[in-house]
């Protein structure tokens, strides 16, 4: 799997009155062709800002201050605005968490998807409409002719999210970024949308960057995973090794704190403390004040990213001398 999208040393910072928030701070990852990569972490870790950076949708006071985002051998950060706009919504598409706030309430849903096609391609209205109806069928919307003419408020959350998926697919994207696509949905509907996303990858060969806080969603859907904490990627691995043998103390702690259906325990093992303020990051490793294994060196230097097994990378001093912990 050659990389289709490659993010190199990305830094996106927010220049607020209270100080600089380094929301994404030297982040690198790649997305292979036809791959589903999960970008996971808790609120404020920078996973959404990473995805917005790829789409170049970061607004003031935020700014991409360094890095490269290579897509089909071009650096997206160097493209002219007009060129970027042509890619956005066509080759690079995005699905957001809240389907209800992603659509304009005063236009019919079908016409909004058709418009996305008309903006990017020279096709007739009729052809655009026909393609929308086909897409609606593809994403499992019953009675597309009628649904096409309906407004967003006439849809349930799950159905509207299907429409958002249809819109994202309208111009055959090669990269689809899904930012918490099922978080706002009920669990029975979640399962349907996740199935749909996997089917689409199988059918269209698109690469998918799935952003989520939910390890269950990752286990269900992804091929590979990158775990983020406070603006940094702390661990990257294929799905099985990450779940079966997580290495970074943060990843380990995250798994231990989740109640599981298949296991009964009296007490959960939380990660102690709270995430530090992004305005006041600890020096050295950002996780050290919550880490049960912190060493003196963790306070002094940023941990190096080490490859502990082929394709399994961890940013932690514990693995420096050949791997302990």
């Amino acid at each position: 799997m050659g990389a289709l999208l490659e993010v190199r040393n990305l830094r996106t910072h927010f220049f607020s009155r209270a100080g600089v928030v380094r929301a994404v701070d030297d982040v690198s990852f790649s997305l292979g062709r036809g791959e589903i990569l999960g970008l996971v972490g808790e609120s404020g870790c920078g996973k959404s800002v990473s995805s917005l950076s790829i789409m170049r949708l970061v607004d003031r006071p935020g700014r991409i201050v360094a890095g490269e985002i290579l897509f089909e051998e071009r650096d997206l950060l160097q493209l002219a605005k007009e060129e970027m706009r042509r890619l956005r919504g066509s080759r690079l598409a995005m699905i957001f968490q809240e389907p209800t706030s992603s659509m304009n309430p005063v236009f019919t849903t079908g016409s909004q998807i058709a418009e996305a096609i008309l903006v990017h391609e020279r096709v007739s209205r009729k052809a655009a409409r026909e393609r929308v109806l086909r897409l609606m069928q593809l994403v499992g919307i019953p009675d597309p002719e009628r649904r096409f003419r309906q407004f967003p408020h006439q849809f349930s959350g799950g159905m509207l999210q299907r429409m958002m998926v249809a819109m994202a697919l309208a111009c055959n994207p090669s990269v689809l970024i899904a930012d918490e696509p099922v978080t706002a949905l009920d669990v029975t509907i979640q399962a349907q949308i996740l199935d749909l996303i996997k089917e689409l990858r199988d059918r269209t060969g698109a690469s998918i960057l799935l952003i989520t806080h939910d390890m269950g969603v990752v286990a269900e859907t992804c091929d590979r995973v990158a775990v983020m904490y406070l603006g940094k990627i702390v661990e990257t691995a294929a799905l099985e090794p990450l779940f079966e043998a997580p290495r970074h103390p943060y990843t380990v702690g995250l798994f231990a704190s989740i109640p599981r259906l298949e296991e009964t325990v009296e007490w959960l093992q939380p990660i102690p403390g709270t995430v530090p303020s992004p305005l006041d990051l600890p020096a050295g490793c950002r996780f050290r004040n919550r880490c049960p294994h912190a060493l003196p060196i963790c306070a002094e230097a940023e941990p190096p990213t080490l490859e502990v097994a082929p394709g399994h990378r961890v940013a932690c001093f514990l693995y420096e001398a050949g791997g302990r912990a």
Binding site: I189, M215, A219, S257, R260, L261
Partner: protein, 320 residues
């Protein structure tokens, strides 16, 4: 633990839809008992009425019909004054710690105001109790003079829990208490709630959409769908031998935490029907993969079934 603290009988709550004659059937005939010292989980998807049940139980909403008995006191018919005297016994922790704490009050005021209203304590005793509460929920003495915005979500939920405890209740409704929190912090709060229950013999009604969390916390679990209970059973019975097709679908839809380790899935098609125009017969029949003609016309009732001698209630024609 077989003594009932709270008894819910035939509880109904309908909301009028503005400008129409239609009614939202938010809660439509719920019978449920909560035993002293237990955690009863109430699960269901959005719009099923679980939150409304929680608010009705505390009389934050007036029921359309039904009875609510707390230790034998009829909460529905009780005069307002007497109801207020019972309020200290039942408290609630809400989902969103950002909107449930008055931003203009310090932690000290948030925690001592309820004591002033409900308890007869001297100012000195209130201060002592404040100290004790802060320590119990894992906050420090210096936090008392701070305002809610100075705290993280997890710490705010600790404040909300301390506030609920401040009047020494025996029953607490926990309405999605960790849904707004990250999982690493959620674990801290769940552990805290369990510890407090042990130390004070509290009874919880734990409302959540998250089955893994409900399973972790509850002794018994009630599953709700479109305003009605479809199944009530002990935690283990519900998860090892769920009887209602909706419960089975719900459990099977939860992503497993093991790669490709997906449970055999019962696929539900379609959307949750509207609570304004509820389906005829069994309310679940429009999404049930096993529905028959009888399910479409005749509404099942919640009834006791014998499964290995354990109390297990289910509302489904297909269960023998």
């Amino acid at each position: 633990m077989s003594e009932r603290l709270l008894e819910i009988r035939g509880l109904v709550k309908h909301f009028a839809v503005e400008g129409t004659r239609e009614m939202v059937h938010a809660v439509d005939g719920v019978d449920l008992g909560v035993m002293k010292g237990e955690t009863l989980g109430l699960v269901g998807e959005s719009g099923c009425g679980k939150t409304t049940v929680g608010r009705l139980v505390l009389r934050l909403l007036d029921p359309t019909a039904g009875e609510l008995l707390l230790d034998g006191h009829d909460l529905v018919r009780l005069p307002r004054k007497e109801l207020r005297r019972l309020r200290f016994r039942m408290q609630i922790v809400f989902q969103d710690p950002f909107s449930s704490l008055n931003p203009r009050m310090t932690v000290q005021t948030l925690l001592t105001r309820p004591m002033e209203i409900h308890l007869t304590l001297s100012a000195v005793a209130r201060q002592a109790r404040l100290e004790e509460l802060l320590e119990k929920v894992g906050l420090r003495g210096e936090h008392r003079s701070r305002y809610p915005h100075e705290f993280s979500g997890g710490q705010r939920q600790r404040i909300a829990i301390a506030r609920a405890l401040s009047v020494n209740p025996d029953f607490i409704v926990l309405d999605e208490p960790t849904s707004a929190l990250d999982v690493s912090v959620q674990a801290q709060i769940l552990n805290l709630l369990k510890q407090l229950q042990r130390d004070h013999g509290l009874t919880y009604l734990f409302i959540s959409h998250n089955l893994s969390v409900v399973r972790h916390m509850s002794d018994r679990i009630a599953v709700m769908y479109l305003g009605q209970l479809v199944e009530v059973a002990s935690r283990d019975a519900l998860f090892t031998a769920p009887l209602h097709p909706y419960t089975r679908a719900l459990i099977s839809a939860i992503p497993a935490l093991t790669p490709r380790g997906r449970r055999e899935r019962i696929r539900l098609t379609g959307d949750v029907p509207s609570a304004i125009r509820v389906p005829s017969g069994c309310r679940f029949h429009t999404r049930c993969p096993f529905a028959s003609d009888r399910c479409r016309s005749e509404a099942p009732t919640l009834r006791q079934v014998a499964v290995g001698g354990e109390a297990h209630q289910v509302s489904c024609h297909l269960v023998p």
